[in-house]
Subunit: 423 residues, 2 copies
């Protein structure tokens, strides 16, 4: 008997059938003797439909009003889910972000959670009810206005609530079976991971793995809260995201846990930059002032004859036009020669806590890419990750080669499942 | 310069075009120097669509959750309307019923307003913003749960807010030009009324006129708040609902203000009821206990030979099956002979403060119905209303005949418009 927070995404509750299926799963958890708090996203395409309506009345909708509009989506799904549970004879009460005590900053569209004060949720649990909470939304501490949390908001709501309630586990239900050693659409032999550490998951999420959002993993790590990522369409054990790989597994732990790839970035090269102190800082300050996140940076060794160097960096494709315009604006001041913009790049990342104790990883990685005919254009590393930039058209070839080289390919013996008892 | 509360119904904001049209009208009012508070209903068929979703997941949805679900409708329309206003360069802030301080009883689905504490609305007005408020919803005083007000809820929200804000007028925008002397679909010569008193409007609403709901008129009368019913599709002056007809109009005031008709009622006759003290009370107590509203009641003079009488009453058709089942259950106890159920009846009502001083109204009314071949089955009167029950198939014939007999037919000189200045 424990307290379980479950989060269901929009695709799991896309229609009445989905809502009923999810209701049955929730009731089964309750019947197994647990207290259950559920965080739910808006149904299917609701958010997109609301955004389209907003666009029809205003090209630049006010942030406060856009948040008011979008939060209607979870209001609908949570009330329907509570009704569907009620229809099975169990009591469920739905709560908006505000009612659930999700207190945020007042930055509309991407508010951050400041605190969770789940008094009403605890009351509902005490009454024996299942609590259904709207994901993705909260109330601003200063203005008492409705806010939304932006990308990954519902996962973050679930983890934040689980932490505030001191839950035993936060289950994130999705339409895949868990976290895989690589994207199964690219690598059919990809294996479902039994466990992955917070650090690994953070690196994977930052490297393009879509299954969990960075913010929610950061939150879970801070509170040492186990996340169980699993499918809402099956009863299969999924992937546990935890502090450390379980001891029994340590011996057989692969060096590399997962391979992520990302096609959403572009590369900008600033050519012929005067190699003087402060010039690079000036460039990246301008980019940062425009609130553009950059990822990898490489500065070539300066050519002694000219005193000029090239600086390359990657950034989301969606920010490409914005960033190049910005750089052209400061070209006179900085005095570089030209800008090259390249949106045909892909990023390939190896992630694994095991690489700390295995110094040969980089060599094996580069060798396998070379054998596969993949040219490396940029390199960046952390303690448990190596990322390279290559041609976008070479990306999937590279993922497959690395997956095989690090012996991640499934052997068909995946029946052994990590129980995760007591977490 | 005054404070104006405007209410727009679902058909006025059914799509992006409607929202923009309404936004322009609101902005025009603001530009004319007024402070503006807007109450808005859910867009077009939203409420019906949400009800259909609810039915798909639960045949008997929980009241709290159904209210949570339905209130998403106004959340969507109010946010979009605020955006549409924002797009014209004016500031608008939307508020849920709870944020607007609409405090209600906790009867889900048909909560009553207990109090309105519009602090946030006043703040918005002070900042120079237009306040958009969700109609039809509030928050329960006891449980702090979201509630809905039931039929006529948005009109009631508007009037209650206008009263709490001490507004100069509450404008109810609809898809017709105002209150007419009869339903223009039945009587093409029906005239738009310049003014109608609260009492008359209450009688008209209770007699089947759909344009304003009973509750909202009751609220306005209690606070002596002028209502201006008008079309959102034109700039025509509509109908003012006020305490008294203006003095200048008193001389030319027609005896009858309006004729209402209603096809939604059925007639039940309890045949052969023992004419003893307490028997009628027992019958109507049983009906009242089942929360069924009855309208007209007629008890025949008892036949001396048998000591038996017949009791007839009318009630909403939707309650017919319920009521007959109930009566059959107490047949043994009461000892009546049989029940006759008739849902082919229509109700025709004459309403007018003028009939107080004109004793011949009843005679003129009955004579014109007789001339038109309409047989009267039941009669009920109040100080300013006469209602009769006839065959449903005779109803429209009767409405036309009465409209002509009381000289209500339009003469085509409707250009004179009551200004209502200073109200």
């Amino acid at each position: 008997m424990g307290l379980i927070v479950q989060k269901y995404g929009g695709s799991s509750v896309a229609d009445a059938e989905g809502l009923k299926r999810v209701a049955n799963r929730i009731v089964a958890t309750k019947k197994a003797g647990h207290q259950v708090v559920v965080v739910v996203s808006a149904m299917g395409d609701t958010t997109d439909e609301l955004l389209e309506l907003a666009e029809q009345v205003s090209p630049m909708p006010n942030g406060r009003e856009l948040d008011m509009l979008l939060t209607a989506g979870e209001r609908i799904s949570m009330a329907l889910l509570a009704m569907a549970i009620g229809n099975t004879g169990h009591e469920a009460q739905s709560f908006t972000g505000s009612q659930a005590g999700v207190i945020t900053t007042s930055t509309h569209g991407r508010a951050r959670i400041i605190d969770v004060a789940p008094g009403r949720i605890l009351d509902a649990l005490k009454e024996g009810a299942i609590a259904i909470v709207a994901g993705f939304q909260g109330i601003s501490q200063d203005t008492k206005d409705v806010t939304t949390l932006g990308r990954g908001g519902s996962d973050t709501t679930a983890v934040a609530l689980a932490a505030a309630l001191d839950a035993d586990v936060c289950e994130i239900y999705t339409d895949v079976d868990g976290v895989f050693s690589a994207d199964p659409r690219v690598v059919p032999a990809a294996r479902k991971l039994k466990t992955v550490t917070y650090e690994e998951m953070l690196e994977l999420a930052a490297s393009g793995a879509k299954v969990l959002h960075l913010r929610c993993v950061e939150y879970a790590r801070r509170y040492n809260l186990p996340i169980h990522v699993r499918s809402s369409f099956s009863n299969n054990e999924g992937t546990w995201v935890v502090k450390d790989h379980p001891e029994g597994d340590a011996m057989e732990q692969a060096i590399i846990s997962g391979i992520a790839h990302d096609k959403s970035e572009a590369k900008i090269t600033v050519v012929g930059v005067p190699d003087r102190t402060g010039i690079a800082a000036r460039i990246f300050q301008a980019i940062a002032d425009a609130d553009i996140n950059i990822d990898m940076i490489v500065q070539n060794v300066s050519a002694a004859a000219t005193g000029l160097t090239d600086i390359s960096f990657t950034l989301p494709k969606s920010e490409g036009a914005n960033a190049t315009a910005l750089l052209h604006k400061i070209q006179g001041e900085i005095g570089f020669q030209s800008i090259q913009y390249d949106d045909q790049v892909g990023k390939l990342s190896l992630v694994g806590a095991g690489m700390r104790s295995h110094p040969g990883v980089t060599a094996t990685f580069f060798a396998c890419l070379a054998d596969a005919g993949v040219n490396i254009e940029m390199i960046s590393t952390s303690e448990i990750r190596i990322s390279v930039i290559c041609r976008e058209s070479d990306l999937e070839k590279g993922v497959k080669a690395a997956h095989t080289a690090f012996e991640l390919d499934s052997t068909g013996e995946e029946a052994v499942v990590y129980g995760g008892t007591g977490r």
